[in-house]
Symmetry: C2
Subunit: 231 residues, 2 copies
């Protein structure tokens, strides 16, 4: 039986803009879901199909409080011949979210895992950056403590230059402005930085400039979900 990995939107947007029609077919026929937050997941199912009988669905909550020994239990329907879906809070499950743990267990036990297509802010930002798409790395969050953060930014800049590998990272949205200031003060003026905010939303903004060009004109990134790429 199949564990489906079901992407969701990256914010308020029509689902037809960012999800293939096939995903709806799959979601409509599933009764078991592994989710980060039940409320968001219910809302997503209702948006896909307002006629869905939500109360007939079973939700298992997988977040940072879930105990490892619980996770294996979420796959029990698979052993009973039922299909299960993993839904993330935003974007693609198992990319920068706890979903990877349950996928790892499913793989260990030999269950079939099928990923569905959907929006990944990491990949969309990289596509639109104009940077090297033949070699790139996603590094998640950088350290918050100033000395560690400076070191981390320098390390990524060096790797981008020495290995010609685009270096992607993220920040919690309310710290974006600080992050941008840190990048500008740490990196060489000629290093190129792509800033990608509100991807797939009405206010989408994706621009690549040199660090020295950004310095003169900082975009307002406060509280906007944002991807940074150095190259």
């Amino acid at each position: 039986m199949v564990l489906y990995l079901i992407p969701t939107s990256l914010g308020e947007t029509d689902l037809d803009r960012i999800l293939p029609a096939y995903n709806n077919e799959i979601v409509n026929r599933l009764d078991f879901f592994i989710v980060e937050d039940v409320r968001t997941a219910r809302r997503f199912l209702k948006k896909i199909n307002p006629a869905t009988d939500i109360d007939s669905k079973t939700f298992y909550v997988l977040n940072q409080h879930t105990r490892p020994e619980e996770i294996a239990g979420f796959l029990k329907p698979l052993s009973e011949g039922r299909e299960v879906g993993v839904i993330s809070e935003a974007g693609c499950p198992a990319i920068a979210d706890p979903g990877a743990d349950v996928v790892a267990i499913a793989q260990e036990r030999g269950f079939k895992v099928v990923p569905l297509v959907g929006p990944s802010s990491i990949l969309l930002a990289l596509m639109a950056s104009g940077f090297n798409g033949q070699s790139f790395a996603f590094n998640g969050y950088l350290p918050v403590q100033p000395a560690d953060r400076t070191k981390a930014i320098k390390r990524l800049e060096n790797r981008a230059h020495n290995e010609k590998q685009s270096q992607i990272f993220i920040e919690t949205p309310y710290r974006n402005i600080k992050m941008l200031q840190d990048i500008i003060s740490v990196c060489q003026p000629s290093t190129r930085l792509c800033i990608a905010a509100d991807i797939t939303l009405e206010t989408e903004f994706i621009r690549t400039k040199t660090v020295s060009n950004w310095k003169n004109q900082l975009p307002d990134l406060n509280k906007r979900p944002c991807i940074f790429i150095l190259y």
Copy 2:
């Protein structure tokens, strides 16, 4: 004016399975396309909308033979207030294909670049691998020459272990079997390897095992498009 990045399928599959309906709207209204191969691009446009008047569309060919000075010319319609689309041979433009060059020029000149959602074999494989999605790198093709290749595989295995960074790479399909043999002979038995073949197709196969477990049962990967991930 906007440069749209338009993903295509990863092989023979219904477009509704892997592309949002919104992409069709965009494609239908564009008259200028930057493509790797005109024949594949025409076939894609016809599949999206059989009523398309293909002869009214303009195609610019961007491949390894395109001279850098030609590429900027492909963006001329943008300066004239027209929209342009970049279509890749398979999957997402500018990820592991020549599209990134034209995107870089568009960014330099300040044109708006909008990436559309579609299938990326790299991302789908990573989602289904169960490996770390908070830190990962795509490394493209590894060297073919045996000593260099062994060194490259070792380097990626070390980085996967030391930095807890999932290491993704590809191979030309007719050399997949050789690649699998090389990974198995070079890597430690406990290293985990995800093999993802024919992603989004009927014959899709995505399995994660330790190198020692793969050794006993090699899948037939000959000529199947394939992603390898070490962790």
